[in-house]
């Protein structure tokens, strides 16, 4: 089997979560990489929607911004930004919202707003973007983010985007229609919500990763599923597709 990096494993594990034919609202960065990898491997008919209004985008390289020209050129339809949020997202037409996170808590709530106090932040993060409504309206949400105790925190400095709120059925009490986060994919493994408490539980480790490592990089006491599984290692086909995508992207953007 080929060598691969934890980042590659994370992207490939995330891509596998996307079913062929699913309509997917894609955030920029890791989610976009994973979603396009899915499209180039097992899910050729996945429909990728970016908040710039490109519906059914099929970029040959990863977009650096959510509004790169190739997204429009390859899309089935280009609609105004307000329409993508109103008819397509709020209208209930998105199967999967694919998002990243700067901070995440045990109920998969997300902070992308500030580190520190909102009125006098230590670090000002970019903010909400489309995430609060993507997380509310997509039929389900998949999160992709690297594992670190600064990311997987005991308590968020700010709740930008809701996951399972305070756990249990508290999300349903908010009146949202989507089912919420189905999985959090990291460079160490996969976390999924407990059916009852909705707290995240470690359900998969990527090959070679230990429970101890995952716990060390999670700031809350991480529960482990009794049937903890090991993610299948990347296949040659997956790795080749991902590396070719990254190479095309680097050539196009001059990015590493």
């Amino acid at each position: 089997m080929a060598e691969y990096t934890p980042d590659e494993m994370m992207t490939i594990a995330a891509s596998r979560r996307l079913k062929d034919g699913a309509v997917c609202f894609v955030g920029i960065g890791l989610p976009s990489a994973a979603a396009n990898l899915a499209r180039l491997t097992h899910a050729p008919k996945v429909v990728l929607i970016y908040e710039s209004g490109t519906i059914g985008a099929k970029p040959s390289v990863l977009p650096l911004s959510i509004g790169d020209g190739e997204l429009a050129e390859t899309a089935d339809a280009v609609v105004p930004t307000h329409e993508v949020f109103r008819y397509w997202l709020q209208g209930g037409r998105i199967d999967v919202g694919f998002l990243g996170a700067a901070q995440i808590d045990r109920f998969a709530n997300i902070n992308t707003t500030v580190i520190g106090d909102y009125g006098a932040p230590r670090v000002r993060l970019p903010g909400a973007g489309g995430a609060p409504e993507i997380a509310a309206h997509a039929k389900e949400v998949v999160l992709v983010t690297k594992h670190s105790p600064r990311t997987f925190v005991e308590r968020l400095d700010f709740v930008t985007t809701v996951g399972f709120h305070r756990g249990g059925d508290s999300r349903e009490g908010l009146g949202v229609t989507g089912a919420g986060p189905r999985a959090v994919i990291t460079d160490l493994g996969v976390l999924q919500p407990d059916a009852e408490t909705r707290a995240l539980v470690l359900t998969h480790l990527h090959p070679g990763v230990s429970v101890e490592e995952a716990r060390a990089k999670t700031a809350w006491p991480l529960a482990v599923a009794p049937d903890l599984a090991v993610s299948p290692a990347p296949t040659e086909a997956e790795l080749t597709a991902l590396r070719e995508l990254r190479a095309r992207t680097a050539a196009a953007h001059g990015a590493p």
Binding site: S52, P80, H82, P126, A255
Partner: protein
């Protein structure tokens, strides 16, 4: 008929005043950078700046002290990282403290639609479980008079001036833009005054797919500024300068380096063409 074709310098001088609420829109595509530079050159102050994604264009305005208040939904450098001038203003009050009003993309997009529609507010299903409404008393609720459901209400946005960059205007001042359309049509129709910079002035507009047309009578001024979206792009005319966005991270990280860059390339250039030449000179 008033000739709407004037220079960008004249358009900004005539239509944008200190203290105005201004929207420079363009969702990654067609960001009106040339107009942003001209606001800096003319030293506009105390502006309320609306924009879904502040991007480099507002990072420059904020860093140069033009902003009193910024209303936005995602304030990063797309695909790169932070907007350092925005962060410096929010985190450390440099060059002066600014007010920020944070909303979500869905909120601001709906608020422009409501503004264009002559309505005082927009209704959406927004912010469920988010802390944002705790810090913004302009995110309220409204109850459906049919189902009793409680929904989010947000005030409509009606800028004093909206400025956009488009591909084409014809001699009469009709405007066509295509590719990623963003919220520009709504931002323009929601505003009291509209300035459009264009890549090209054509004798007659030939409609293209997804072309958005603002009839000439909705536009106050049209200025020919080829490449005027740079480092953003104009579909069919240019490509996004991704390397510039990456370089901006370094340029903007340091206050002095930012200021020296703005002095050299914006304040000491007469117009956008001169700016492009000064960039090419390195």
């Amino acid at each position: 008929m008033v000739n709407k074709h004037i220079s960008l310098k004249e358009a900004i001088a005539e239509h944008v005043h200190d203290g105005d609420a201004v929207a420079l829109e363009g969702f990654t595509h067609l960001i009106p950078h040339a107009a942003g530079h001209e606001l800096v050159r003319q030293g506009r102050r105390d502006l309320t700046l609306y924009r879904m994604t502040p991007d480099v264009v507002y990072d420059q305005l904020i860093g140069m002290g033009a902003a009193k208040r910024v209303v936005f939904s995602w304030g990063g450098n797309p695909g790169v990282g932070s907007l350092h001038r925005l962060r410096d203003a929010v985190e450390r009050g440099h060059p002066h403290p600014i007010e920020i009003e944070e909303r979500s993309h869905a909120d601001i997009a709906n608020a422009y639609v409501a503004g264009a529609s002559g309505l005082p507010f927009a209704v959406l299903r927004g912010y469920a479980g988010s802390d944002l409404p705790k810090h913004n008393d302009r995110i309220r609720t409204v109850t459906c008079p049919f189902t009793g459901e409680v929904l989010t209400a947000v005030p409509s946005i009606r800028p004093d001036v909206t400025i956009i960059h488009a591909q084409q205007a014809d001699l009469a001042g009709n405007v066509q833009l295509w590719g990623i359309a963003g919220v520009q049509k709504e931002a323009a129709l929601a505003a009291r005054r509209v300035i459009v910079t264009v890549e090209e002035v054509v004798e007659r507009i030939v409609p293209v797919p997804t072309g958005v047309i603002l009839p000439s009578w909705t536009v106050n001024a049209v200025a020919l500024v080829p490449g005027g979206a740079h480092p953003s792009y104009a579909h069919g005319y240019s490509e996004r300068d991704n390397r510039f966005y990456q370089a901006w991270d370094e340029i903007s990280r340091d206050r002095d380096r930012f200021r020296a860059w703005m002095d050299r390339h914006v304040l000491n250039t007469a117009d956008f063409e001169a700016y492009r030449r000064s960039l090419a000179d390195g």
